[in-house]
Structures are given as C-alpha cells and as structure tokens.
Symmetry: C2
Amino acid sequence: METRRKAPIGRPRGFDADEALEHAMRVFWEQGYEGASLTDLTSAMGITRTSMYAAFGNKEELFRKALERYTEGPASYGARAMREPTARQVATAFLNGSVRATTRPGCPTGCLGVQGALAAGDPGRPARDTLSAWRDEHTSRLRDRFRQAVDEGDLPPGTDPGLLARYLMTVANGIAVQAAGGATRDDLQGVADMALLNWPPPE
Amino acid sequence: METRRKAPIGRPRGFDADEALEHAMRVFWEQGYEGASLTDLTSAMGITRTSMYAAFGNKEELFRKALERYTEGPASYGARAMREPTARQVATAFLNGSVRATTRPGCPTGCLGVQGALAAGDPGRPARDTLSAWRDEHTSRLRDRFRQAVDEGDLPPGTDPGLLARYLMTVANGIAVQAAGGATRDDLQGVADMALLNWPPPE
DNA sequence: CTCATTCGGTACCGATTGGTATCAAACTCT
DNA sequence: AGAGTTTGATACCAATCGGTACCGAATGAG
C-alpha cells in the first residue's frame, strides 16, 4: 500500500502556498477586496501574477481561500468558544475572542469577515455576498449552540436562541468596526463586558 | 443694503446641485467609496464628469459632501436623540434610530458612515479616515451628553460616560453591519432592545 | 450689440485594473 | 537520453480608473 506520491510530475513550485496565502489574507484584511489590487497581493505574496493564477484560480477564489485561512487562524476563537460548557461561557469567550482578534498586535485591526467587503461595486459583489454568508453561518452556529443550552436547561425556557445569537454577532461586528477605527483593546474589552451584563441567568 | 445676487454672471448651471448630491450619496452608500466609480456617480447624478468636477471638486470632496448630507438626512436621528430629556431616552432613541435608518425601504441598507470605507487601499485611505473621524465625533457627542447626565444626577455617580458612549456606538455599528448583510428591521429592533436591558438605572 | 464669464458636452490623457499568451526552465516517467 | 508535464518570468491584452483640455453654448454687464 504505497500510495504516497512524494513528488508530483512536472516542475515543482518554487514557493510555499500556505505562506503566500497568509500574506494574501493580510492584504485583504487590511485593504479589503476591492482595495487590494493584484499588484498589492502578488508583491506581498512574493510571487508573480502567473503563479498566483495557477495556484489559486483568480482574485475571487484567492479571497475565498484567504477567508478560509482566516477562519481557521485569527477567527478560530469562534469555533473554540462554541465548545465552552455553558451558554454564558460561550458568549463570554466569543466576545473576548473577538476583542483580542480585532486588536492583535502585528495584524491589521478589525475583522476580515466584516471589512473585507461590506459595500462594493459590481466586481466586488460576490466577495461581499461571501462574507455576508460567512457571518450568517457563524450566527447560525451560535444559535444552534444556544438552542442546545435551552434544551439542557442551561438557559431559561422560553429564551430565544436566535435573538441571543444575533445580539452577540451584532456586538462582535460593532467591535470589529470600532477596532478598524483605532479603538484600543482595553476600550473594547470594556464594551464586551458591558454587553454581557444583561445575559440571562442560568435556569 | 441690497447685497442679494439673484443671478451670478455666466451661464447658469443646468442641474440641481442638492439633487445631484443626494444621488451621489446613495451610490456611495450602496457601493462604498472605492466601489463607486466616477461613471457610476455621474450617471446616477445625471450630469457629466466635467460638471461634477466644477461643482464638487473631485471624488474625495464629493464623498465628504455626501457624508455631510447623510449626516443631516438619514443620520439626523443622532442629533435628535441627543436632545432627549434623559440618558435612557437618549440611548433608546439613538439605537432605535440606527435600526430604522439602516433598514429604510427605498434606501441602501446599512450605514454610509460604516460601509462607505471601512478598509481601503491607498487611494481610499482619506475617505476611510474621514469616516473614522465621523464615528469618533458622534461618539464624543454621546459621551458629552452622558457626562451631562451624570452631572445632573440622571445617571448614577461614578458612571463612565465614555464607556456608555462607546458601547452604544459599538452596538449601532454592529447593527449597521447586520443591516448591510440583510438583517430585517424586526430582527435588529430585537437586538437594540436587548442591548438596553443593562442600561444603568437613574440615580 | 460686444465682451467677459461660466457651464457642460466631447474627446482625450496616462496610469492602473484583472487576466493571459508565450516560452524557457525544471522536474518525473519510460 | 528523450518524452511528457508543470512552473514561472516577460510581455502583453482590452477595459476601466480618476481627471482634464478644449471649445461651443448660455448667460450678465457695459
């Protein structure tokens, strides 16, 4: 059972695709989809246009792959928060994570999932819709998690899981906007703390 | 003292500048600064490039003037909220206003002050900074209003007016992002209501 | 009327946009 | 070694970007 292919045929690529994608992600994060030109992207990635098209398809696919990497990297706090034992801890971890991720030193401020493409002209429409779906998906996961918490008695019966999820996502989105505008981590942590003061008590 | 100039010398302009600015505002609102091309703008304004440059300077100045118009039009709820008699009413009017303004039928969803330019490349940097300053200015006004409320005993002593202001602005920004993603007015009203549950009681 | 002044339509500018054709270099397979 | 396959550098594409020169059209001043 020797199915391993150590070297695919043809000339091997002369760059690390993961590393290149990381750089592309940061450019999109900082400048947005429309604000990031292919010249910006490829020069940050350290490769030529040709290599980028061969490896990633086109600008739109590169953006989607950068978003995936973002989800598993800087935004991984989302998935992590979902595994907290109680609804309150989920909510706290989610907001605290969003504060930290949007104000991480050495990274662009704000959230790629928000400022990557919030409003756009025709060419940026697909990217905008991709991000909108991305936010909705994470909202749904929060809602499912809170629904489970209601079922488990961790939240009072009659609690609306969808409302809690949307509330948290709204605050996180606001935090992202604030961070993009230069708000500090301490400022935003105060906001996150305040946003959780009204969290429903456990059953 | 007859200083009125009914007709300035030269050929009179053949369009209504206010009306043209209104259309430009909506294009920026919907597509963002970088996503709105001069062709998009001038064709929506119903004038030629030449007329636009003569009347408004350039794209950047047009954007600033569109933002002014936005402030006095769709975003006028902000100034109105500030004149409510109590801090709680100010906060309620502010969030309710933001919900209505970001989901107004017949207008683009979301907020020009957020999605107009949240992240941008080099050419959009000035617009982005303009919007950031715009948000900061409104946050400061809220803070001043709450400081006054503390002085008047309308808020408990020791309350941090800056935190309350930033909290409200954060929620409003989040509402704008949600609206841009297609959230309905009812959804967002629920979020706004929930965000005010933890509002400090009057002294 | 003539002159000065302003407006606005056409036609254009250089620069940049996202995307490709071409072809030599670098590799695996037989 | 020779054939087949993939990468990547150069050089290019049409389209669009924001912005402007030019000049006739339309007005008030004299």
